[in-house]
């Protein structure tokens, strides 16, 4: 297990990771500077017989520098991650053509409701799956997230998606996956004694496979109804 972020497979995962590594470099530099100076001073200026400390109260220029530089740096960090934030969570960041899925969290399971082939909710071909999310690849997907009891948090590490599911309100989270496969889904907000068991899987399938899957599933459920 190494010290890097696990591979990300959504369109904005790359942006998030880039922000992370950018901040890692900046703070890493700050860290090295501080620790190195500290250690160096401790050795260089350790008290030795006959040496007296130099008596002065500060140096304005130095202070201005180490106030201004961090100020500029953090504002820069703010602006950059603000850009990515808008792209992910901005008012109209959700692609209009996004495939909708309803996810209702409750202790301790995730219930995903699909509109069925007709793409509309509240019709007879809707169906619900438990702890298993199936989404098409390379297609924007919007999850209408809510909760029936306490606060949960939809966490899909590989997609860099995390959003609390709050009872009494519906939050739209969107993502667009770039690779098919099976990915872990977890609950990231303490929600009771079963919090730790509230996992699931996200299956990412090819677009046509997804369409077929919708057909099959909804008819199968209809039959069983």
């Amino acid at each position: 297990m190494d010290w890097t972020l696990p591979p990300g497979v959504s369109t904005f995962a790359a942006d998030i990771d880039r922000m992370y590594y950018l901040i890692l470099w900046i703070t890493g530099a700050a860290f090295v500077i501080v620790e190195a100076t500290l250690v160096w001073f401790l050795i260089r200026y350790r008290s030795r017989p006959g040496r007296k400390a130099r008596y002065y109260h500060g140096n304005l220029r130095a202070e201005v520098i180490w106030t201004a530089v961090p100020a500029v740096v953090v504002v820069m960090i703010g602006i950059m991650s603000g850009g990515v934030w808008n792209e992910i969570r901005g008012r109209d960041s959700i692609p209009p053509n996004a495939v909708p899925i309803e996810v209702r969290a409750k202790q301790f399971e995730w219930n995903a409701t699909y509109p069925g082939p007709d793409g509309a909710f509240g019709t007879t071909d809707d169906f619900t799956a438990r702890n298993r999310l199936t989404v098409p690849v390379d297609t924007p997907v919007v999850v209408r997230l809510t909760s029936e009891d306490v606060i949960h948090s939809l966490f899909i590490p590989a997609f860099r998606v995390k959003q609390d599911a709050v009872p009494g309100m519906t939050v739209n989270v969107w993502f667009q996956v770039t690779e098919t496969g099976e990915y872990a889904l977890a609950c990231a907000e303490l929600c009771g004694n079963g919090h730790t068991t509230m996992g699931g899987t996200v299956e990412v399938v090819a677009q046509d496979a997804y369409a077929r899957w919708l057909e099959v599933e909804s008819s199968r459920r209809a039959a069983s109804r």
Binding site: T27, V34, S47, R48, K52, R54, P70, G192, T196
Partner: protein, 580 residues
């Protein structure tokens, strides 16, 4: 000077010498005794919090395995030594609660606020000594109540130290009813104690500074305790209000936070964090203050840029009020609001930078004595920087999407609270121990404790960053439930082992603390050759601190001043001319 002579009157304890043991050591109104009482109480709190952490670590390192000796725990907690999930939640909740409210906060504010403020500003006692006594004796039942909670029907509160509603508001979802109510009541009671204390500190510092102790001659420890007191005064009542509403939701059927009846879960988070973020600065500012004192002393040099240090404290104190939303980036809060909270949060890096670099500037060209307190102070600087810098990651809304509620946050918490606050506390206790008890703590064991703590501390908490990167969620009972976390289990075991060692070496401190009390070498008036007023009176100081109020002629950190031949110039030393 407004009321130099006043306290003798108001306290009504001028004749304390004639008083019984009880009045002098138990229901004492002497700020020094009360400080020591707080010290003992909060060290026990630290011990409790630490022990809970050990149980947490066992479960995370060796999930659902019977804990050696865990059999002594009652069935409701750990049948056959295997911790139950509900007990684990209670452990995490109470670990956070005890460490924040019953260990670090009283250690910094209760202990050093009480002990140092009058001694360092040249006052005979607090402005309201009886109120001071009350604030301690109100804290005790709060502490006791929080402990009792473990043994009540349904177990202790288990919704995290943040007690997010609605989980905390409705027993039917958490299985905990009485425990959560006890959490609320205990914190409200403790809050009263803190508010009384804060009122006392602020009044004292404003009104009772000795002649010549101008605002800009106050030691930075006092400045930070002052700002801390202001934060406490204004933040704690918010928590009390929130806790009361939560209590009512559970007991008398109100619906503040219960969505089915229109309640707003996010309202709890907003109110809690509006208190919560100032709270975390309450937990760091006094640490920064005492560290500044110790670093100046250790470097034998005036603090670098005293004025900007003061302004930085004030800036942090103020900014702390407008950043609370950074705990709620993923909570469904309006994203536009998130943006502004990100900016204000990042700005706090600036005053923090000023402080960090000014500490380094203080050592620059100094003549550094690496005594035990100085070592802890240096550890504070280096570790706080790690914690602070990791804060910058989460301050960035986008990065926070991934690391929110993972062990990256847990690592942050412990780098600022243990690496920061607790190292400062170890340093400060060692530094002022002689003034408190009239004896020195063992230097040798001090070095040993520092070295081992520094080592095992980093081995325990640094790997948590790695867990966080791997997506390891907080507050989960059994990481191995998740396939994608199994590769991380090795790290978890490593952390657990180091944590046990970390706890073990804390016993060195405990023993050093207790044994030195009786057998430590007698302390002179000014063992560290410091410049503060507290070192101009015997160790321990007599009742009333000085025969007559001292007069201040110099700024706080006149080390290596050319005015005198020795390398420190006491604040009240009438050498040469007044230094402005």
């Amino acid at each position: 000077m407004t009321s130099v002579a006043a306290p003798i009157e108001h306290g009504g304890h001028a004749d304390a010498h004639a008083q019984s043991f009880v009045r002098r050591y138990i229901f004492s109104t002497d700020h020094k005794i009360i400080g020591i009482q707080f010290l003992l109480l909060s060290l026990v709190g630290l011990l409790v919090g630490g022990s809970l952490a050990m149980l947490i670590r066992w479960q995370l390192g060796f999930p659902t395995q019977a804990m050696p000796g865990g059999g002594i725990l009652p069935e409701t907690m750990a049948p056959g030594g295997v911790l139950l999930p509900e007990f684990y939640n209670a452990l995490v909740t109470m670990h956070g609660t005890f460490m924040v409210f019953f260990a670090i906060m009283p250690l910094l504010v209760g202990v050093f606020g009480n002990f140092l403020i009058p001694l360092k500003i040249g006052a005979a006692d607090m402005a309201f000594p009886r109120l001071n006594m009350a604030s301690f004796w109100i804290a005790v039942p709060a502490f006791a109540l929080m402990v009792v909670g473990f043994f009540v029907e349904g177990g202790h509160a288990g919704a995290g130290w943040t007690s997010y509603a609605p989980l905390s508001a409705n027993p039917e979802w958490s299985g905990v009813s009485l425990g959560q109510q006890i959490w609320c009541v205990s914190l409200v009671v403790l809050g009263l104690s803190s508010i009384l204390g804060a009122t006392n500190y602020i009044t004292t510092i404003i009104n009772m500074r000795a002649p010549g102790m101008f605002w800009f001659r106050l030691p930075l420890s006092i400045w930070s305790l002052f700002i801390t007191a202001v934060l406490t005064l204004l933040a704690i009542p918010i928590l009390s209000g929130a806790a009361i509403m939560l209590l009512f939701d559970q007991t008398i059927g109100t619906t503040f936070f219960l969505p089915p009846d229109g309640g707003q879960p996010l309202l709890w988070q907003h109110i809690f964090w509006f208190f919560g973020h100032p709270e975390v600065y309450i937990l760091i500012l006094p640490a920064m203050g005492v560290v500044s004192d110790i670093i100046a002393n250790g470097s034998r040099k005036p603090i670098f840029g005293y004025h900007s240090m003061v302004y930085a404290i004030i800036a942090i104190g103020f900014l702390g009020w407008i950043v609370w939303g950074h705990h709620m980036f993923q909570s469904g809060m309006n994203p536009t609001l998130g943006m502004s909270f990100m900016i204000s949060t990042l700005l706090i890096a600036v005053p923090s930078a000023i402080k960090t670099f000014n500490w380094l500037g203080t050592m620059w060209e100094g003549s550094i004595r690496l005594h035990v307190p100085m070592l802890h102070a240096c550890a504070f600087v280096s570790m706080f920087v790690i914690g602070g810098l990791s804060g910058v990651f989460m301050a960035s809304t986008t990065v926070d999407i991934y690391i929110h509620d993972t062990y990256f946050i847990v690592a942050h918490i412990h780098y600022v609270l243990f690496g920061g606050s607790l190292f400062a506390i170890f340093g400060a206790v060692t530094f002022w121990y002689p003034k408190m008890f009239g004896r020195m703590m063992s230097r040798f064991w001090g070095y040993v404790h520092f070295g081992l703590t520094f080592l095992f501390y980093n081995l325990t908490f640094f790997p948590m960053h790695q867990l966080g990167l791997g997506g390891h969620m907080r507050r989960i009972y059994d990481p191995t439930e998740y396939e994608f976390l199994q590769p991380l289990q090795g790290t978890n075991e490593f952390i657990t082992i180091s944590a046990f060692l970390l706890f073990a070496v804390q016993l060195i401190f405990a023993l050093n603390f207790i044994v030195s009390w009786f057998t430590g070498e007698k302390a002179p008036e000014n063992p560290w050759q410091d410049t503060g007023l507290e070192w101009t009176t015997p160790s321990p100081p007599p009742h009333g601190n000085w025969p007559e109020t001292p007069t201040v002629h110099h700024p706080p950190y006149e080390f290596s001043s050319p005015l005198v031949e020795e390398d420190y110039l006491m604040q009240d030393r009438a050498a040469g001319k007044e230094t402005p």
